[in-house]
């Protein structure tokens, strides 16, 4: 075909034509947000994550307000992978849900991008005082409050009691006696060696780290390990600058690097954890310890391993005990036509009465300090350690408007480290990538 020249020139001509066409009224700005007040709607639409305990709990917590006001809450779900992206797209959507579940650490970014309605009007000062300290920092921007948490989370080390009894190990239940990471590692190496010998195969591991989708634990669990390497309020402990825009000098301190090395050794040198991304091994009795949060542990084990005897011991640490918490928050998209009603619903769902329903149905820790004492289920053997951890050791995850960019790059960095990458090269590249991404938020910082 001697037509390549003709074709190429046509492509150029076509492209210029396209350029002319596109440069015209190409980019129309999204319509500005409409005022929030309106006539009373019959229903409010909600966008939740596909996590059944949360959905059931939310429906239950919304019943009383719904009955009193004659408004029904209809909940639709968004797939996990689309969650952040969908929320970020709210300002450009013609129709948005009236209420949405948003991820705690991402709240600041959403507020900074003007996606959510400030909810100060709907909460009294005593409410704000009552919320647990781990849950409010990321929801505050320039003094405004953008959404209460549905519950507080926690993290601790669940363990297979039958297995540990077999080897005569009794983990501590008091926070003051919590194991350090080196202690835990020794115990795991020992158990793993003996159990593998007993089974005659290598299908047994010391621990499973995190909820499962991130090798290396991600920014929720993996970062705990790194931050605890620092003394309280040191740069390592803080993990990010106070303005939330820089990680250089915080994520790559000498202590942090030691933490990364320890993480890598867990996976590679000592082979104490599988790379498969599923806690099914724990349910099968193939794992001794599972570092995770209470809802996943309690509901997961109840459903998939109901006969297993298990216990909970505090989250291990290096220098300073630290556990990152904060869970789902309720937010109201600014451009919802029923924003005012939605905000009222949100405030009611976390009221003392309904907040207890919201948390107890998930077997999670309530957002309000006043409710923590009232909730008896928090004192059962499995929840006790989680609850104390949330009151004493809890800190929010790094507070930055660029949370999703930070999370993506940092979690991938931990995964690369955990699977054997060169630590100093990987960390320095990730740190410069993160800072480059966060620099784009310069103008939006609080």
């Amino acid at each position: 075909m001697s037509t390549s020249l003709t074709r190429r020139s046509l492509l150029v001509r076509g492209g210029l034509l396209g350029l002319a066409a596109a440069a015209g009224p190409s980019l129309i700005a999204a319509c500005s947000s409409s005022p929030a007040s309106s006539a009373k709607p019959a229903t409010l639409s909600g966008l939740w994550v596909p996590y059944d305990p949360l959905i059931d709990a939310s429906k239950a917590a919304a019943t009383s307000w719904g009955a009193a006001n004659g408004i029904q809450l209809n909940i639709a779900t968004v797939p996990w992978a689309d969650w952040d992206r969908t929320v970020r797209a709210f300002p450009q959507q013609p129709t948005v849900p009236d209420v949405a579940i948003v991820d705690g650490p991402a709240l600041l970014g959403y507020a900074a991008n003007d996606i959510l309605l400030p909810l100060d009007r709907y909460f009294k000062p005593q409410d704000m005082q009552d919320f647990l300290p781990g849950t409010t920092p990321s929801a505050m921007r320039k003094g405004s409050f953008y959404g209460p948490a549905t519950n507080e989370s926690s993290q601790a080390l669940a363990y297979n009691k039958d297995l540990l009894d077999k080897y005569g190990i009794t983990p501590p239940t008091e926070l003051s006696k919590a194991w350090t990471w080196p202690q835990l590692r020794e115990i795991m190496i020992d158990i793993q060696k003996r159990e593998r010998a007993a089974r005659g195969n290598d299908q047994f591991w010391g621990m499973f780290l995190g909820q499962g989708n991130f090798i290396g634990g991600g920014t929720y669990t993996g970062l705990d390990l790194i931050r605890s390497k620092g003394a309280k309020n040191s740069n390592t402990y803080k993990a990010i600058s106070d303005d939330g825009l820089t990680v250089a000098g915080y994520a790559d301190t000498p202590e942090a690097m030691e933490g990364y090395q320890f993480l890598q050794d867990l996976y590679i040198r000592d082979g104490l954890t599988p790379q498969s991304k599923s806690p099914d091994f724990f349910y099968n009795g193939q794992i001794a310890f599972w570092l995770t949060d209470p809802d996943v542990a309690v509901t997961g084990i109840a459903e998939k391993a109901p006969t297993m005897k298990w216990g909970v011991t505090p989250h291990p640490y290096f220098v300073t005990p630290i556990v990152q918490t904060d869970s789902y928050h309720l937010g109201v998209p600014k451009n919802s036509p029923n924003a005012d009603w939605a905000a009222k619903l949100v405030a009611d769902m976390v009221s003392p009465a309904n907040g207890l329903i919201l948390a107890s149905k998930q077997k999670a820790i309530p957002t309000r300090k006043s409710l923590v004492d009232k909730a008896d289920y928090l004192r059962d053997a499995h929840m006790q350690v989680f609850t104390e951890t949330a009151s004493q050791w809890a800190v929010p995850r790094p507070i930055t408007p660029g949370w999703s960019e930070y999370d993506t790059v940092y979690s991938q960095m931990l995964a690369d480290i955990a699977t054997g990458a060169d630590i100093s090269k990987t960390v320095s590249k990730a740190v410069s990538d993160i800072d480059a991404q966060l620099a784009r938020y310069q103008s939006l910082v609080r």
Binding site: G18, A21, N113, Q275, Q412, D416, G420
Partner: protein, 301 residues
């Protein structure tokens, strides 16, 4: 006679009607213009602007994005990965497709069955191929490692070691697309006239020689088509990487398509993403044009 001729001249053939052509082509041309050419213009426009994290255009920055992108090590790395991936995929896939076509050309029930078997992966939705390979190469529960441990080799971290992750992704891609290539070559083989094959056989050339010297050159057009389609497939390879490695480990599978996706839809940086798109598309046009020229058929038969 004259009457018929006159009648013919007087009837306006619908086949010469400009108006008919316009009606028939209008929707197609409009759609292609709107969804293929306008985006090219859009890409060029967007690549000349900076965008905010919310996805809105901020300011005209001229060629800044291009400068930034062309000096960005990770983008250059992803371009290089893509080119290497194509350079590996094309010959292997063509060889596999041609081999399968030659092997299964004979008519037999088994061959018919095998031809279908080879095409099944090619028509299976691609992300599902990704899931299958995710499972097959899982470190702890994957069958590959089960075999390796049984034979004493030990477990390999297929998807979390850079080199092996690249190998798995390449194998998944070639394994899957081999069916398409086989179909192209099968079609090409049937188009070879029987006389040629008979002539080759009479000459007494043994199977391999006749294949190499006579049949292969006659498959020039098939090779050209297969090369170009495989190149395009290589440059747009995305779904299995999304499912298996997300560009990792350590950016080992961060091919251009995935890199651009990440820039545009994970980091919300439309300006950079479009600059990368412009560069990538230009590269593809150049490469496919070169391929078409180099592989142009010298045989007319």
């Amino acid at each position: 006679m004259t009457t018929t001729a006159t009648r013919r001249r007087r009837i306006r053939s619908p086949l010469d009607s400009y108006r008919n052509a316009v009606f028939l082509l209008a929707p197609t041309v409009a759609l292609i213009f709107l969804y293929k050419y306008v985006p090219i213009g859009q890409a060029i426009w967007a690549s000349l602007n900076a965008f905010s994290v919310a996805g809105n255009p901020l300011a005209f920055v001229g060629l800044d994005n291009f400068v930034h992108v062309l000096t960005d090590v990770s983008f250059l790395h992803s371009l290089m990965l893509t080119v290497i991936f194509a350079a590996v995929k094309i010959p292997l896939q063509l060889a596999l497709g041609l081999g399968a076509a030659l092997l299964l050309y004979q008519s037999s029930a088994f061959n018919s069955f095998l031809r279908v078997v080879i095409v099944i992966p090619a028509i299976t939705p691609i992300a599902i191929i990704g899931i299958i390979f995710l499972f097959l190469f899982d470190r702890e529960v994957g069958l590959t490692n089960a075999f390796l441990t049984a034979f004493g080799v030990g477990r390999v971290s297929w998807l979390t070691t850079p080199a092996t992750a690249q190998a798995v992704v390449a194998v998944a891609s070639i394994w899957r697309d081999a069916g398409f290539t086989m179909l192209i070559y099968l079609a090409g083989l049937t188009a070879i006239p029987t006389q040629v094959r008979e002539a080759a056989r009479i000459d007494g050339a043994n199977g391999w020689q006749s294949t190499r010297r006579i049949i292969l050159p006659m498959l020039q057009r098939s090779t050209q088509l297969a090369t170009v389609t495989t190149t395009i497939a290589a440059f747009q390879f995305f779904a299995p990487i999304f499912v298996l490695t997300r560009g990792g480990p350590q950016d080992a599978t961060d091919v251009a398509a995935y890199h651009i996706y990440e820039q545009a839809f994970v980091f919300y940086d439309q300006g950079t993403a479009n600059a990368m798109s412009v560069i990538l598309v230009s590269l593809i046009v150049v490469i496919t044009t070169v391929e078409l020229y180099v592989l142009r058929s010298r045989w007319e038969y």
